[in-house]
Structures are given as C-alpha cells and as structure tokens.
Amino acid sequence: MRLRRVRLMTPVVLLGAWEVLARVGVLSPDKLPPPSEVLAAGWRLTQDGSLPAHVYESLTRAVVGLAIGGGLALVLGAFAGLLRVGDALVDPTVQMARMLPHLGLVPLLIIWLGIGEPLKITLVALGAFFPIYLNLYAGIRNIDERLVEAARTCGLSALERVRHVVVPGAMPSLFLGVRLAFAAGWLSLVVGEQVNTDSGLGFMMMEAREFSQTEIVLLGLLSYAVLGLLSDIALRAAERRALSWRRGLQAS
C-alpha cells in the first residue's frame, strides 16, 4: 500500500516541476505550455464538441481496422494452426510477410489506396493482423497433445475437441496477441492520421501545429494515451473473466 503511494510520487513531482517551470517562463509556452493549459484546452474543446468528434473518428478507424485485421488473423491463424494443409498454405507466407515493416508501406499504400479512410483502416488492420495471427497460431500449436488424446478417449469428436480443448487452450496466447494488436493498431493509427486527414485526433494535432497551439498538440497525444490505456484496461478485465481458471493455478 505504501509502495503504491511511492510509485505515484515520481509522475506527480515531474508534472509539478513542468507546471512551475512553464509558469515562471523557463519553458517557452510555444514549446511546452504547462499541463494546466493542456487540461484547459481539453475542457474547451470538449465543450465545443470538437474533441469528442475527433476521438469518435479516430476510435471508429481503430475499431474497424482491428475488426478487419483481427478477423482475418483469426481465420488464417485457426486455418494454419488446426490443419496441416492450412499450415503449409498460409504459415510460410505470413512468416515472410511479417518481416516487412508495415509502417514502411505507407508510400505504397498511398499509391494503391489514396490518402482517404481506406489507407488509415488498412494500416491499423495490418498492425493488428500479425500479433493476433502469430499468437493464435503458436497458442494452438503449443496445446498439450496429451490433453487432446484424453479428450479423444472421452469420445469427443474433432469439432468438440476444438471447442473444449483447442479454443480454451489457445486463449491465453490469443489474449496476448490481441493485447499486442491493440498497441500496434494504435501506433498505426497515429502514423496513418499524420497523412492528410480532415478529422480525427491526428488531424487535430496537425492543424494545431500550424497555428502553434502546442497545448492542443499535447492534448492530442494525451488523448491517444488515454484511449490506449482504456483499451488495455478493458482487455485485461475481459482476460480476467475468460481466464479465471488460471487464478486457481496462480494461488496454489
């Protein structure tokens, strides 16, 4: 309990120092306005409705991109993990493709897709695809074969073995993949939104930079961070529910 308070000390001290240094003029207000001004900007833009609108735009891109990339990763990961022929058809190609840094594809994607919404959604989907595919595949492959055998001797059909053994067995690894996919998806979104947009948090930041509204640039960063944090918290809660059986293991 005391350590928890100690842990909070460092960020609080840093924020306080930032505020003071900005107020007394050591930090130029153009470069780094005090945190209180960032919060004030946040309040102002929330009141006029522009911040929620931008957050909504960014969130939509993230959700759609994650759904597409994650959905594809689930299908291909299951196909490659469960079937030998699927493994041969899919896995070597995916393993090669993941060596491409997907954010480096931006110029190519602009040529293919233009600079509109499809570009941003594709970037998020690419970012989310690989962690989910790789971890689902590994999760299925690492299931204890002896458990599958035991299920077989209990009279479970192939489909029932998938449902009762493979899916729950691969779940911890899949959750890890989704967690990494969230992080990669957010990162891809940030990059994608720097490319010509007329809405979203990235647009808000780029526009503010042109008018030297540094506090709004910082507000955009803060919003990305908060969204990332909230998605991680939600995922952890889902994980705790889905993997409650592991708590027994950890306790014993």
């Binding site: 055998e149 035991a150 299920a151 077989r152 009279g155 479970l156 029932e160 009762h164 027994g248 293991l249």
Partner: protein, 237 residues
C-alpha cells in the same frame, strides 16, 4: 472363428514398430468381462504402446483389434483440462440423461463429492488422479484401460488408490487392463498377470488368491519373486 466368449478385448497378432525397432511383435490378447489383467514389463517393453493401441490412440499398428465400445482410459498423468472445473472435466463427452447427477455420483465414489466446483489446479496430485478415475467411471465402462495410473503418486496415496480401485471394481465389475511396472500392485489387484518382454507376451500367470489380498501372504511373496525373476530382477528367497 471365435470359439471363446465375446470378451471386452480381442486382439490378434498385433504388431507395431517405430522405424526399425519392433516394439510389439505379434501380441494375442483376450480379456473377459469383469476380468482384471495386469500387464507387466520393463520400461520400453511396449506395454504402454499396447494400451494406446487398444485405446484407439495409435493408428499405425497392424493386426486385428476389437475393443468394447464402452471403454475408458486413465493415464499416468491425470490429463484434466485446466480450464474446466472438476465436474466439467468428469462430464466431458458424457451424453444422455442426468449428466449432472451421474457426475456427482462418480465424484462421490472417488471421495470428492464436494470438489465438483474446484479447478483442477487447486487439487493435489492424488485428488487429480481420483478425478481422472471418476471421469472414466462416469462412462460406466465395460473396460477400463489404465496406464500406470498410480505411478506418479506417493507411496501412501498409491496404497489408498489401489484399495479404491478394488472397491470400485467389485462394485461395478468392469474389466480392466492395468499397465504397471509395480509388481506388488499387479499381484495385489489383478486376476491374471501378463509379462511383456521383447515385444511378446512371454508369461501368463493366473493369480489364485482371493480378494482382499495382503502383501504378507506367503503366496504373495512367491508370486512376487517369480514375477521379478521374469522381469530380470531376481531376489533372494
């Protein structure tokens, strides 16, 4: 061609090799209903391979194998699914009416009536193996295939489990093939002993002692010595 009664296991000329290594070299095996047979052999003698073939887990073997459709397997490790509660593990694949009632009856029989809601990770080794036995029992098997089921337990738990096995067998009268390397366990539990060596069944001994048996019975000692000699571990008389 069957002149014997239709038993629960009828295997003829079973062969299995891994590469150039012949593990089973023509095994004939017959188990009657309600008969407990212990299969003994040194490590690597192929006894577990034979059990896996009978359990339908090995498709590379040749020969004729007929096994009662009503069979269940208990492995050396409990092999419970960690993400299902104890009752869910026992109920795995059980079909028909009143599954829940049958599950709690089976758990009651192994002395774990109150542990149905527990996760496997919360159980001790002995308890886990009891659940594995309940998972087999709930299927009301005609044949139980056991692969060194008590081998991973400590000595005290093993004695308790051996007694439990006898009780369950006399209550349900299932046939059992017990793969073990524990000579005492074999003599204590089985009606008939088979010794596997070099891929063949080299000896068959019918155990004449009535149940319950005691290790300090003079007949027990004699049988034990004979088996150990067959397994190339001679002991002084």
């Amino acid at each position: 061609m069957a002149t014997r009664t239709a038993g629960v296991v009828a295997a003829r000329d079973v062969r299995r090799s891994f590469g150039d290594t012949v593990v089973l070299d023509g095994i004939d095996l017959h188990l009657e209903r309600g008969e407990v047979v212990a299969l003994l052999g040194a490590s690597g003698s192929g006894k577990s391979t034979l059990l896996r073939i009978l359990a339908g887990l090995d498709h590379e073997a040749t020969g004729e194998v007929e096994v009662s459709a009503s069979s269940a397997v208990v492995f050396q490790e409990h092999r419970l699914l960690p993400w299902k509660r104890v009752a869910g593990n026992v109920a795995l694949g059980v079909r028909g009416a009143d599954v829940a009632g049958r599950v709690s009856a089976a758990l009651g029989e192994v002395g774990l009536a109150d542990r149905g809601r527990a996760w496997p990770g919360e159980l001790s080794g002995g308890q886990s193996q009891r659940v594995a036995i309940a998972r087999a029992l709930v299927r009301r098997p005609e044949l139980l295939l056991l692969d060194e089921p008590f081998g991973a337990l400590d000595a005290l738990n093993r004695l308790k489990m051996q007694r439990l096995f006898r009780e369950l067998q006399s209550a349900h009268d299932f046939a059992a093939l017990l793969v073990t390397h524990d000579v005492d366990e074999a003599v204590l539990l089985a009606d008939r002993l088979l010794v596997l060596d070099g891929g063949r069944l080299v000896e068959e001994i019918v155990v004449p002692m009535p149940h319950p048996r005691a290790v300090d019975d003079p007949q027990f000692g004699a049988l034990r010595r004979r088996l150990l000699a067959l397994l190339n571990v001679p002991v002084e008389a």
